[in-house]
């Protein structure tokens, strides 16, 4: 075996990784790092860079439009994530019982998540809840004048949240798998000791599935802060900017006709840092509430 052949044999794995590595470097690492550089400039896609500045970062917290978008993003995340986790866990808990047609229900509840981030589902949502939509028609039958779901500033964000909460299927499936893993003998012992269903749920089920709750919390948090499709398609960020999430603002600045890449990059980086902080807090907090059976517990 020649030296070259030996070299290839010993390093063949690296060659298989090269396409992925190239893709990662070109489409992930480079944009990621270059956006950091651009975030300190007034980079305009067509006019280029004319100055280096911290203004983009300062504006995120001082400019009213950007600050509002940041607040709305927090509101959206803090409404969506708990509601979605609770809904997913609740339905998973019910579907864990031996009830008739359980497979049908599991499929039915999972379907919205298959449709997931698709544009079609957002269009459907808009068609259902707009002032001439099906929901208003049903209200009309009962002589009720329903709210303007997408044009009333108090309703619009909630409706966008609801769209995401409705798509709880993937979190539900993960919860369901975790619930299946809880030993039945624990429930039997608890029942003998006189614990009711609620007591069993909070003292046995919840502690034992905390690693899965933690996993779902992190993934849902990341998704919530990056939400784009719903507000972009349904409300375009309106009414009066009440559904303009940070990701939508990033898009609007970068591609909405003004091509302010420097500003958009800074906003994206602020969003990234916020996500990092929340993820770090979550990881730090897990020692207080997440139970891992394979080590010393908490």
């Amino acid at each position: 075996m020649s030296k070259t052949q030996k070299f290839f044999r010993d390093n063949i794995g690296f060659f298989f990784v090269i396409p992925w590595l190239a893709g990662f470097l070109i489409f992930k690492a480079y944009p990621f790092l270059s956006s950091f550089y651009y975030s300190f400039t007034d980079y305009d896609l067509f006019k280029g860079i004319t100055k280096y500045t911290f203004e983009n970062y300062i504006n995120v917290f001082t400019n009213q439009q950007e600050r509002t978008a940041l607040i709305i993003t927090f509101k959206y995340a803090f409404m969506t994530v708990p509601l979605k986790l609770v809904a997913a866990l609740f339905i998973a808990y019910i579907l864990n019982f031996k009830i008739k047609g359980v497979n049908f229900f599991r499929t039915a509840y999972y379907i919205p998540s298959i449709l997931g981030g698709s544009v079609a589902i957002a269009v459907l949502w808009r068609a259902l809840f707009n002032d001439e939509g099906l929901v208003h028609m049903i209200f009309g039958i009962f002589g009720i004048e329903g709210p303007h779901f997408f044009t009333d500033t108090t309703w619009a964000l909630f409706m966008i949240c609801l769209l995401r909460v409705w798509q709880f299927g993937s979190a539900m499936v993960i919860f369901l798998a975790a619930l299946k893993g809880v030993p039945v003998d624990l429930y039997e012992a608890a029942a003998i000791d006189g614990a009711g269903k609620w007591r069993q749920f909070f003292t046995i089920t919840v502690p034992l599935i905390t690693p899965v709750i933690f996993y779902n919390l992190i993934t849902q948090l990341v998704q919530a802060f990056q939400e784009f499709n719903g507000p972009f398609i349904i409300t375009k960020g309106g009414p009066r900017g009440s559904t303009t999430l940070m990701s939508l603002l990033v898009y609007n600045n970068a591609f909405g006709g003004t091509y302010k890449m420097g500003k958009a990059s800074a906003q994206a980086w602020v969003l990234f840092i916020i996500l990092m902080i929340f993820t770090a807090i979550s990881f730090w907090s897990q020692k207080h509430w997440v139970y891992y059976a394979d080590d010393e517990g908490r």
Binding site: L45, N130, E132, G133, T151, P239, R240, N252, T258
Partner: protein, 470 residues
Amino acid sequence: MKKKLIATLLTAAMATTLLAGCGSAAEQPAAETTAAEPAAETEAAAETTAETAAADADAAESYEECTLTMDWWGGDSRHEATIAAIEAFEAKYPGITIEYNYGAWSDWETAKASEYLSGTNADIQQTNFDWIRKYDADGTTYLDLNTVADTLDLTQYSESTLSLPVDVNGGLAGVPVSLTGRTFYWNKATYEAAGLSTPTTMEELMAAGPIFKEKLGDNYYPLVATEYDRAILMAFYLQAQTGEPIIDQNGNFTLTEEQVKEGLEWITSLEENHVIPTIEYYDGEGAEAIDKSARWINGEYAGCHTWDSSPKSLVSALPNPDDFVVGNELMDTGEFGSGSYAKVSLMFSISAKCEHPHEAALFLNFILNDEEGAALMATERGVPESAAAYAICEAAGAINPIIAEAHKSVMDSNPMYWNPLFDDSSLKGDTSVYNTLFENLSYGVRDGSYSVEDAAYDLYTAYTAIAPAK
């Protein structure tokens, strides 16, 4: 193994050479030249057509076999017409292939912007008037069409029309296909149901609001206006008061903050008088456009104010197209008439990087001025500005009578100059000033969170940021 590799490489090299040969500038006579066929019925049409054909024939004496790329945006009927014209051109000029790409307007400009940035824009493009300022700021994106005037017959266009799409170097960045302006369209059945005839004056329109509310109900409006419509209506109103464009030819904003406030008060009065619905009510339906609105289709919105080139979709949306009537400009809007303006609706441009400008010009001349090409393109991009194309379309009965009537309404109103800064991306766009400001105003004046004074200050600031005060 090595021999096989060498053989493969040699074969590949040969193929490359052959392909390069195909694309090279091997000049050859055109298979066909355009014959002057006086098919037009009118004398004027015959004259212009013959002149065009003669110019075409001279210019097309020789051309290179090549492949050109082209793109445009629009609706289905425009796509069909353009593809038919491309096929006719390829049949007439064998050896020239047009590779085309088309789509709807939505996000089209974003895609084109990235192409301009990367230098991958098509050889021939349908372009917007304001793109000259946005993407051809240094005059190097679009070819100066005067350089191909021996092939592209520019004599078919008036001097005033050709004076508009000029780049910073004085070059002709595009050839305007048509001029356009806005006029009113009415649903006469709804007006009749309210016991009214369609309005011919601003006074009648303002009076119609309360009557609609009383006789037809809260959900019936004489006119519907989106945020951008309101910006244009306000411009018309103020131009009718001052007699000059709100942004003049020097790029200066001609209004004071007080005048902007007057314009906004007038827009607010339209809402308050039930002439137009609130933004909350309009957006609540979630319709993509007025012609997609169930309220337009069933006659609850009895009027709209839009381009003279786009009434077809509004007509076809109505159950009874006969209910649709073209209104005139409302000449009592102010002391100086309707305050309307006209602008280049869209253009065709050739990329400065195009390797075959002569052939690209040959193609443009075919679709814009040639008897066969212009007839196929018809009025899919508005009433043609080319005298030859107009004569051809008129003779063939291809000019849609509704479009012609709407266009006449605009042109008869002595329209003013329109500066493309009016559509600057900071003003026009989903989240730009027009949308956010008129939305805020509509909501804000009702709940007290945003006043006309606030809006006047914001709008004046936004305008003067791109067009310094005069």
